[in-house]
């Protein structure tokens, strides 16, 4: 729909942004919306750090020889890229920014159940982040973000304990966010907001929160064990001390596989909201989409050893984990089919958020389908630990999770900032991101099947890999431009953007029934919900009648 319908608002009303001024009013705020903005600023900072590392990695791989940086530096670059992007950007991205901002509003609540714990979670994130920055500035880590033992506990000379502790602390911020969401969704829904009327964004966040609460403690324990072995020489993972290196991998992936769903489930929630709005439709198969989120969260805990098919586990264990991995693929496929079916007989608009949603479906489908390759035991043997895996999980975590995050930022930006972003630029950025992404990562599928191993600083003995690497690096620069653009025009719009009406998209959902930006307690009076989620028929027919009366 066109932004031209935006009406200029009268004198600026009081809202959560202008209620108080000063650094203190932000650092001590308990307003979920202000905390969401604090997270937005912090994760954007880490995103560009992680992105900078990615750019250096791609530049090094432009030529086969290890010539831009030394091998040790390269190893640190991909390690820090992974750690920053996973723990300091992707995991908090949608839950801590969009979830924090929207979960209370979507269910008609004033705030999260524990506003102070919410602020605490941001401080924990910042403390962890500062520890990670300190670690990077004073030497960094070279183990890969996977910390495999006994390399990490006995052989690497880098700052493993410090990096581990940074992740340990940040993990608690993730647990607290999840805990807050679960309690809020259970206890603070407005009258009439039954479970079956919840937006699917809420279902997705509920499923995500369960994983955060149950999974994150396991990585925390694992980090403590790594630190204990490294510092105190307790024999846990190192066979020379009587430990078992595979135990580490089991523990690590028990968290780190579900962590992928921490990244992708909220993104699926965002995309569901966007598709319903821009197709002006109820989501096809609401309950199937809702329960598929829960199914993904549950099955996600049962597939971890598919990262270990060649690690030395028994063939029978491999068989079970391969089978279960196909089970988790079904609810993901169900979602894609339901989104597609939602478009059927819709009235589809192509604003920037919808372009991101389309991009999400395309890239997530590619990522999901290549997951079928990796879950097939016979193929995994060849492609695991090659660029095929790199391409696959970037399609899911960058193509999927990040597209959803950007789509969501555009969709709710008028609500968050009270301003409209420049639509033309936003559509252009969506296109650039989509093209740049595919150019970066599609060649890596081919590279992987050819056999190029991941984490190689130097491939001068394999010049045949260069053409594909050059393509990938070219794509990465395009992708970088695509990510810089939104940051620039979002910043621009905060000052120069047109003031946003309360509901610029004529979207369903309680968050659109309050002002833009909302007041500190979101609603003047507690809303009472008497309608189903995605009641676009009512919204659009009401609007039509209005038009008639006017005409």
């Amino acid at each position: 729909m066109s932004m031209a319908t935006a009406t200029i608002q009268p004198v600026e009303r009081e809202n959560y942004l202008n209620k108080e001024y000063g650094v203190g009013s932000w650092l001590f705020t308990t307003d979920h919306k202000r905390i969401a903005l604090l997270y937005l600023i912090s994760i954007t900072f880490f995103f560009f750090i992680g992105g900078f590392f990615a750019l250096l990695i791609r530049l090094e791989l432009l030529t086969p020889a290890s010539d831009l940086v030394q091998a040790d530096t390269y190893n640190k670059l991909f390690t820090m890229h992974g750690m920053v992007m996973v723990f300091f950007f992707l995991i908090p991205s949608i839950p801590a920014v969009l979830g924090n901002f929207l979960v209370p509003m979507m269910i008609g609540a004033k705030d999260l159940a524990f506003p102070r714990i919410n602020l605490l979670s941001w401080y924990l994130y910042i403390i962890g982040g500062i520890m990670m920055l300190h670690c990077m500035l004073t030497g960094g880590v070279d183990t890969g973000w996977t910390f495999y033992t006994p390399f990490s506990t006995a052989y690497s000379n880098t700052k493993i304990v410090e990096a581990g502790l940074a992740i340990f602390v940040t993990g608690f911020s993730s647990i607290l966010t999840g805990l807050n969401f679960v309690v809020t969704i259970h206890r603070m829904r407005a009258p009439g907001m039954t479970w079956s009327r919840l937006p699917l964004f809420i279902w997705a966040h509920y499923a995500t929160s369960i994983i955060q609460i149950l999974g994150t403690p396991v990585i925390a324990i694992t980090i403590v064990l790594v630190a204990a072995e490294r510092a105190l020489h307790l024999g846990i993972f190192d066979p020379r001390l009587g430990g078992d290196p595979l135990l580490f991998q089991h523990l690590f992936w028990f968290y780190s596989h579900p962590a992928v769903y921490i990244m992708i489930l909220p993104s699926m929630g965002v995309v569901t909201e966007i598709i319903a709005c821009f197709a002006r439709k109820r989501i096809f198969g609401y309950s199937f989409v809702a329960f598929s989120s829960i199914a993904i969260a549950v099955f996600g805990f049962l597939v971890w050893a598919h990262h270990m098919f060649v690690a030395g586990i028994s063939v029978y264990a491999a068989l079970v984990f391969s089978l279960l991995s196909y089970a988790v693929a079904v609810p993901s496929a169900v979602k894609v089919f339901n989104w597609t079916a939602t478009l059927y007989k819709g009235s589809i608009h192509y604003d920037a958020p919808m372009l991101y949603a389309f991009g999400f479906i395309g890239l997530f489908t590619m990522g999901g389908l290549t997951g079928l390759f990796l879950a097939a035991l016979g193929i995994d043997v060849h492609v695991t630990d090659t660029y095929f895996v790199i391409a696959h999980f970037h399609y899911i975590m960058v193509g999927g999770a990040l597209m959803g995050y950007l789509g969501g930022l555009h969709f709710w930006w008028p609500k968050i900032s009270g301003r409209l972003y420049p639509e033309g630029w936003a559509r252009l950025a969506a296109l650039i991101v989509f093209l740049g992404f595919n150019l970066t990562f599609f060649p890596q599928f081919v590279l992987g099947y050819l056999g190029m191993p991941r984490r190689y600083a130097d491939y001068s003995h394999m010049p045949e890999f260069q053409v594909l690497n050059v393509l990938s690096t070219a794509g990465a620069t395009v992708l970088g431009v695509g990510y810089l653009l939104p940051m620039l025009y979002f910043l621009w719009s905060m000052r120069y953007g047109k003031p946003a009406p309360d509901n610029p998209w004529k979207a369903a959902g309680l968050e659109w029934m309050t002002t833009s930006p909302p007041t500190t307690f979101n609603f003047e009076t507690e809303p009472v919900v008497t309608w189903e989620a995605y009641n676009y028929d009512e919204i659009d027919s009401a609007h039509k009648q209005e038009v008639k009366v006017v005409g």
Partner: protein, 332 residues
């Protein structure tokens, strides 16, 4: 041009064709699935784009459709699963009477030793058409033995043996990579697999004066004094090792396990952990006293005690061919 820009890896082992066939099947399946989804998306996106005055038609959902698009993909997934499992099982089960090569990985090199005694570093010479079993361990961190042209990869762990096997089908020189990140020179831990015609290979093998690995194992066995307890002539303080390899062993705690490479290895390094029934845990550990290479020689020696008198490589190869022919006919 395609020398510099290949799109498909060399196919040089018996397993490679199986993996490629499944990969191509998956390309077709996922190609069809994406075609279905993307064409539906694009068609709906074009056909149902917003028109002034035309409202969207609300549809609640459809349980039969939901079941269809859950069950049909699941059945397709099961076909992929079973096929993948079959390929995997074949690639994980070394045929009997394979030629054995011991692999010791360390930061950042591959040390390889043929059971005939030839040693190589970062290079492995193998003949076409013979099954080669790799018995691998690491001196330090986890590595992974990866030959893309053979579609074969297996992590190599410290403190235990992992096994892999291949049968090369095409002469040539192929990449050997370390595929598990192992530190600074991880990308330098590469080498070559040189596949030769059998005659050439025989010539290459005879170029080295080294005796078989089991012979050096026998020497170490005597030097370390193992022979004083593990005797073949009279009952000693330790079990008689003749003929035990590959056989079930009754343990003191009641369990029965198979005496494989890992069991022999563990019994040398940590003798107290799995004591054979009827014997006292009196054997001292040899942890730190034997290198990985010596350990491999000892294992090779113990294994040789369970084989009929060493046959020449040629007859071994001949038996091998008979076996694989027999195995092939069983499959059919």
């Amino acid at each position: 041009m395609f020398d510099n820009f290949p799109l498909w890896p060399d196919r040089a082992s018996a397993a490679a064709g199986n993996v490629d066939a499944l990969f191509i099947f998956l390309l077709i399946v996922s190609g069809l699935m994406s075609l279905l989804i993307f064409s539906a998306l694009l068609y709906f996106a074009a056909r149902y784009r917003h028109r002034r005055g035309v409202l969207a038609e609300q549809i609640e959902g459809s349980t039969p459709l939901e079941l269809t698009w859950s069950v049909v993909p699941f059945m397709v997934f099961m076909v992929i699963f079973v096929w993948g499992a079959v390929v995997f099982f074949k690639s994980r089960t070394p045929p009997r009477d394979s030629t054995e090569v011991y692999v010791v990985a360390k930061q950042w090199m591959w040390k390889l030793e043929h059971s005939e005694g030839q040693r190589e570093i970062n290079e492995l010479h193998v003949p076409v058409g013979r099954d080669v079993k790799l018995i691998m361990t690491s001196q330090d961190v986890i590595h992974s033995f990866f030959i893309p042209a053979f579609r074969m990869k297996q992590d190599v762990l410290p403190g235990r043996y992992t096994l892999a096997w291949f049968r090369a089908t095409k002469p040539g020189t192929y990449h050997l990579f370390c595929a598990e990140y192992c530190g600074t020179q991880h990308s330098g831990m590469i080498g070559s697999i040189i596949v030769m015609e059998p005659a050439q290979f025989e010539a290459w093998m005879s170029g080295s004066p080294a005796g078989p690995l089991s012979a050096s194992g026998e020497k170490i066995f005597a030097e370390l004094g193992c022979v004083t307890c593990h005797r073949a002539d009279t009952p000693g303080r330790g079990p008689n090792l003749e003929g035990i390899f590959g056989k079930p062993v009754q343990l003191e705690d009641g369990r029965t396990i198979t005496a494989d490479e890992n069991y022999i290895r563990e019994s040398i390094l940590d003798p107290g952990s799995k004591v054979v029934s009827g014997f006292k845990p009196v054997m001292p550990t040899f942890q730190g006293l034997v290198s990985e290479e010596q350990l491999n020689a000892l294992v090779a020696y113990v294994k040789s005690l369970s084989q009929p008198v060493a046959t020449s490589t040629r007859t071994a190869a001949a038996t091998q061919q008979d076996n694989s022919r027999a195995a092939g006919s069983q499959v059919q």
